[in-house]
Amino acid sequence: MKKFWRITYILYRNAVIRDLKISISIITGALNHLMDGVVSIALIFIVYTKTDAIGGWNIYETLILISSMKIITTIFSSWLKKGTGLFAEHMVRTGEYDFYLTKPFDPMIAVSISKPRIYNLINIPFYVYIFIYAINHLGRSIPPVNIACFFLLFICAFLLFYALRLITVIPAFWIIKSYELVSITDRLQNVMKYPADIYPRTMAILLSTLLPIFAISYLPVKVLLFEPRLEYIIYTILITGLFLLLARLFWKFGEKHYGSASS
């Protein structure tokens, strides 16, 4: 674990040095990410001029949902997205994965943390502001137990998002071009922005089990704002553990099919 944090620190330090050299790229990159959040929030404001609730959620509850989801995905994209993305698009095809296989460190983790994009974190204060703004306007206090449960599920949500991302990039061991598959986690963020209650039952079940994205966005906020039901907490912990295990086994299985392109 100590080794993991030391490598992460070195990679982040290098990322800062690299990104500071190309300031225009940093600004446009960060603006790109920010625009997505601004558009989502603008859409929410537009929607709520036409109604006072969607799926039983008022505007502030939905803003909490979006900002919480955005905080998770922004941390993810600054830390793990680029590395896993390059793995799918480039590393297996060109044999660059050899570099990670030969290091005395878990290659799956090494690949994931290899390309941090620190400038994405610039957007975090914006989402935190929206989150706090919405909490302040809720008009009710949140019990400490809800807050504690929220943080627990928030961590699970981050890990689950990582596991899902891994599952979508691992087919790169077999598939040459998997751009759309890799972008699943990005594109599904569009679904995660809204309360699960707006979707039909079949879709909600599908997106809670087979592709459990509601455990990433909806359930943590549900326990924060409403009753922190034990079954939600147990379910989220179990499904996170299960998907992390699946991702790990899938990676190991894929690795057996890896034939170095450079050897």
């Binding site: 790109n32 929607v47 598939i175």
Partner: protein, 254 residues
Amino acid sequence: MLKTNWAYSANYFFSQILDLIFFLTFFFLWKGVYGNSNELIISGYTLTGLITYYFATEFIFRFDVIGAIYLNWDIWDGTLTNWLIKPLRITLLCIIDPIVEKTMSVILALPGFIASYFIARNYIDLPSLPNFGLFIITLLLSFLLNILFNLTFHALCFKHGDQDNNIELINYISWFLAGGFFPLSFVPGVLGQILQILPFKYLMFFPANVFLGKYDPREIILGWIGMLIWILIFYFIFKRVYREGLKHYTGVGR
């Protein structure tokens, strides 16, 4: 291109599924909004009208030129030199290339598009044949406008270096201002009025409303004239930026 997509069938399959999910998200979101609202018509749209709007925009999105214009990369990595030594009009080639590429991608997107229709068919009003003809003409003009708008930013690469991030950002903003995420008439007040003046509405909002049959022939012709004016404006801007930029171009090593 057809062969390329078929070779990467898993990628193609997932792209269809993801496009379908994108449409369904808006479908269920607005179904929820209308279900909860006392009004049957919101900002001039019934639920059926609005879902049809999203159905039309899903089709128009297939003509998104991001990733179909390569001028920025060609300038940045020097590939442009290969084109410059050939007896071709590069500016014309830049316009024809995305037209060919997007025609194929629209054909390939048809299965996903048909699936969207069948899922939401009770909420989609297909246009009459003459109206569909008007929509196609509007769509082609909008496509041409979008190509020229994007090419202008690609040509900035000559003087200002790689524009990849800027192009992505500008496209995101332009789709938002074009009504790609909701009809522009939903935007209240002065901001809504400003959006109606800007050329972005011709990329999405105007063609989608032609599909819906919301305009009379006079309004459509006025819209087409507006589009043609903007096409000419962006054509001349692009030509100017390209010509000026080319003076700064050096293709070392090619």
